[in-house]
Symmetry: C2
Subunit: 134 residues, 2 copies
């Protein structure tokens, strides 16, 4: 995928790739909720349309945020997993969580994520990364 980069500003660069309402939600599903299959992403509460889901999964894969491998136990389906490049977006995701925790009274963060995120976000990030290492 080559396209004209609108500027070399690092904020702009990140937004060109994940500046939409869905890409980081799919990464949230894969990284924080450990979802692995298309039907699991499709079932998330936000109700992503199947055409958008397919489009974003392809984008995330082609830009190296996730890996897609055929499931050896069920050859008809694929397993999605985060790459290091995808996991490195965790600080972006966590800082969004912290911001929403402050500004949205209705924020629902599942235990034990809520306490970990509030008390020790660095440890929180480490514990998530550890699930995908090795």
């Amino acid at each position: 995928m080559t396209k004209k980069i609108r500027s070399n500003c690092p904020v702009s660069y990140a937004l060109e790739l994940i500046g939409d309402k869905w890409s980081l939600l799919i990464l949230r599903d894969i990284i924080l909720r450990e979802k692995r299959f298309y039907h699991e992403f499709s079932a998330s509460a936000e109700g992503i349309a199947t055409n958008i889901l397919s489009n974003r999964l392809a984008m995330l894969e082609s830009n190296g945020f996730i890996n897609k491998q055929r499931d050896t136990e069920d050859r008809k389906r694929y397993i999605y997993s985060p790459t290091e490049k995808g996991l490195d977006l965790l600080p972006v995701i966590i800082s969004m969580m912290q911001w929403s925790d402050k500004y949205n009274n209705e924020t629902d963060i599942r235990p034990p994520f809520m306490d970990m995120m509030r008390n020790d976000p660095i440890e929180f990030e480490k514990s998530i990364r550890a699930k995908f290492s090795g």
Copy 2:
């Protein structure tokens, strides 16, 4: 602005507000580049279309990310400034900068921002916030 919230996930909440390619760029201009006027945002390298710029400024104001005040020195124009709620998105912006610094060889971060962001992102954030305090 009331609209149906798609879920109470904190990642989803933040993305519903600033999950697009432009809102955080305008906040970057206001917060990191200390731009204050419409024509200054319009002049940024990414070439934002005027209709999108107007739309996003109105959204950012109505959702409490920025303030808009008439310029007392030139009553025909407005001065835009960040609110605390807007400044609290700095960790999101900085974590995007760090991610791009790692994954985009062409990333151009102006000195002294580059060194500060790499060596001490917490101090970097503090120094930016200090410009808007009091």
